[in-house]
């Protein structure tokens, strides 16, 4: 009970504060402070789980957390805190531009953010497959409000697509979860269970047919939410139409949630006698997703769509890591991707505000407009494509070196090709953005304050790469 209070007290406070008559300017200070406070509280709560390698911290019947879960929980909340802090500058600039004149919209943004982040935290905290599904569906509903922020035709279309595609996809995941639940009722556990830990313990006794079918449906359903290749259609639209801090949240936190759900289900199947499905299917699918996304990267017209497809590519890499059965590697890749991608989305938000367009062909000479933006942008882009000093390189290197059999080897080849292709594509686009002559009048004067958060994130990513600290922490050579 204490744990539930600790988890929900601060978000509820933010919601209540946002709905009161407080001025937006005051909220911009209070809400970020509250989210950082939430991060501290969660660190304190999950500290025992972080320290031990094996034990599981149980809060109540359906809620418990292990080391990987705790890492993800803190990462998500860290990303959320950074994005919301940055949004204070973002919205202040919007006001300067004469947009976002309705303070009501911004207040609703904070409400939706608080609920969205709480729903995402529950994904990592729950031990029950059913509640996991409920949390993920809740994230869809709350983040739809974020995507709809600008309330124009484009955002409406993006929201509609997002809501319908993800709801239908997630419905299939529910079907998969039901099948897994049904598989546990064939003698493995009396009365059946949805507890992931119990299912992993009894994985060998689960009804194999139902389990495999359920796994495939779960992969399909949560894959839709994560944006794997043929089902990614909602992702670029939603990411590009949401305001920059919300795009950062969607890309840096939400995709991790869906992939974490896949990871949990894969963990069950991996222990059972039909591990082949769990080791080959995500690997192949992940490689194909990365490949398809890197093709989409070549011809792009929107700056945020570019990063959205880069996210799809990274989802492919993470799915690959899940298929290899290495949760720490999956976390490491997710960490690097989240840090770099959030920095990129936040900076892109600044650039869009300054240039007044999302069109890649009109954004030129950012280095000339603001050197601090340009350098951070270049660093973040390097991090996201997996350049050596950054964490992404280490993670991708380790993922590729973990392949064991022929299938995985071939898939790794495809993945490598995709990585190279996306590296070239992103470098070309970033080069055009950075150099050249600015094509536009600078409306918003770039302030160093708006670079602080992206810069910090880049530095973290760099540290993660140089020291490999996270991997040592997770006891992975």
């Amino acid at each position: 009970m204490n744990f539930l209070v600790a988890l929900t007290a601060i978000p509820l406070t933010s919601v209540v504060l946002s709905l009161t008559k407080l001025k937006v300017e005051q909220l911009r200070v209070v809400i970020p402070m509250l989210t950082w406070l939430q991060l501290v509280i969660l660190t304190f709560l999950s500290w025992p789980a972080l320290l031990s390698n094996t034990s599981v911290l149980t809060f109540s019947v359906d809620f418990s957390i292990d080391k990987i879960g705790a890492c993800f929980l803190l990462l998500t909340n860290f990303i959320a805190a950074s994005s919301i802090t940055h949004s204070a500058w973002f919205f202040a600039n919007e006001k300067l531009l004469g947009r976002g004149e309705e303070p009501q919209h911004e207040k609703l943004f904070y409400v939706a953010c608080a609920l969205f982040v709480t729903a995402m935290s529950f994904v990592f905290l729950t031990d029950n497959l059913g509640l996991l599904w409920v949390s993920i569906e809740a994230t869809t509903l709350f983040s739809a409000a974020l995507v709809y922020f600008s309330r124009d035709k484009h955002s409406l279309e993006a929201t509609w697509k997002y809501l319908i595609v993800c709801s239908v996809g997630i419905a299939f995941a529910l079907l998969g979860i039901i099948l897994i639940f049904a598989s546990s009722q064939h003698g493995a556990i009396p009365g059946g269970s949805m507890s992931i830990r119990l299912l992993v313990e009894h994985a060998k006794e689960l009804q194999p047919k139902l389990l495999q079918l359920g796994y495939i449906f779960c992969l399909l359903g949560f894959g839709t939410k994560a944006g794997v290749f043929p089902l990614h259609t909602w992702l670029p639209d939603a990411h590009s139409e949401a305001p920059a801090p919300a795009s950062a949240l969607l890309s840096g936190a939400l995709l991790n949630c869906a992939l974490f759900a896949i990871c949990q289900v894969t963990a069950i199947l991996k222990v059972s006698e039909h591990a082949l499905l769990a080791t080959s299917l995500p690997v192949i699918w992940g490689a194909l997703t990365a490949l398809a996304a890197s093709f989409f990267l070549i011809h792009q017209f929107g700056i945020k769509r570019l990063w959205a497809y880069s996210s799809v590519e990274n989802v492919g890499i993470m799915l690959f890591a899940i298929g290899l059965g290495s949760a720490p590697l999956f976390f490491f890749q997710a960490l690097n991707h989240s840090l770099a991608k959030v920095a990129l989305f936040l900076l892109s938000g600044n650039i869009i505000q300054s240039a007044g367009t999302k069109d890649l062909s009109h954004i030129r000479g950012i280095l000339q407009v603001s050197p601090s933006w340009g350098i951070t942008f270049a660093a973040a882009a390097a991090a996201v494509t997996g350049m050596p000093p950054f964490g992404g390189f280490v993670a991708e290197w380790m993922i590729l070196s973990q392949c064991e059999n022929l299938t995985q080897g071939i898939a790794a080849g495809v993945l490598l090709f995709a990585l190279a292709l996306s590296f070239i594509a992103v470098s070309l686009h970033v080069g055009r953005i950075l150099w050249g002559k600015p094509k536009h009048q600078t409306v918003v004067h770039p302030t160093f304050a708006s670079t602080i958060i992206p810069l910090l994130l880049c530095i973290f990513s760099l540290l993660a790469g140089i020291t490999c600290l996270p991997m040592f922490f997770l006891n992975q050579p």
Partner: protein, 217 residues
């Protein structure tokens, strides 16, 4: 070969959903959806009586009240407000789509034949087939319709199918999960229902086929 009352309700629900595909009139669709959901509530109640449990009766009443009365009422109100009567239909004409739905209904019997029956029960074949058929029908409904409101109907039918699958293939889902799912579906439907009005206001139509501004290239 006997057929239980639950299975009769499930198959009736699946067939009623197949008829939904055949009509473009939104109100007819709503009525059929309401009836089909009522059958599902009845299936919940009869299966509870077969197992002599009282918990699911509560769920059955909730489904009957919320999904077969409240949601159709809401959408009927929305239809009045949006001034739409008929969908335009996409890809194939509704009767052909209905034939496809019935074919898929038959196909789902073949597809689900291999699914092991739930523990402690003689067979769950018909239930599984009914559930999968509802999922197919919902997808078909989403594919062959153009209006945003019909897409929501399709989603609701899929949701019904999954519920039926859970009802017949497991020996009772945990109550808290069931409530969570129901709540999520309700909120989702309300959110998308409200979005409908926004779409109508911005675009002056709710035709999804014309929402193509965000296409690649």
């Amino acid at each position: 070969m006997t057929i239980t009352a639950t299975e009769i309700c499930v198959l009736t629900a699946a067939l009623l959903a197949c008829l939904m595909v055949g009509s473009l009139h939104l109100r007819v669709n709503l009525w059929l959806y309401s009836l089909s959901t009522l059958c599902i509530a009845a299936a919940t109640a009869t299966s509870a009586l077969e197992h002599s449990e009282m918990g699911p009766i509560f769920i059955a009443i909730l489904i009957a009240l919320l999904k077969s009365v409240a949601i159709p009422k809401f959408f009927s109100w929305a239809i009045d407000k949006l001034h739409v009567q008929r969908d335009l239909g996409a890809m194939v004409t509704p009767p052909l789509a209905m034939h496809a739905a019935i074919l898929l209904f038959a196909l789902s019997f073949i597809l689900t034949k291999e699914i092991p029956s739930p523990a402690g029960s003689v067979n769950g074949w018909f239930g599984a087939a009914g559930g999968i058929s509802l999922v197919f029908t919902g997808l078909l409904l989403m594919l062959t319709r153009r209006l945003a409101i019909s897409q929501i109907f399709g989603f609701l039918v899929i949701e019904n199918g999954i519920y039926i699958f859970a009802l017949t293939q497991t020996n009772g889902m945990p109550l808290i999960v069931e409530m969570g799912v129901l709540l999520d579906v309700l909120v989702g439907v309300m959110v998308s229902g409200l979005l409908l009005f926004k779409i109508q206001k911005s675009f002056e139509h709710i035709d999804v086929a014309q929402l193509t501004q965000l296409k690649e290239y």
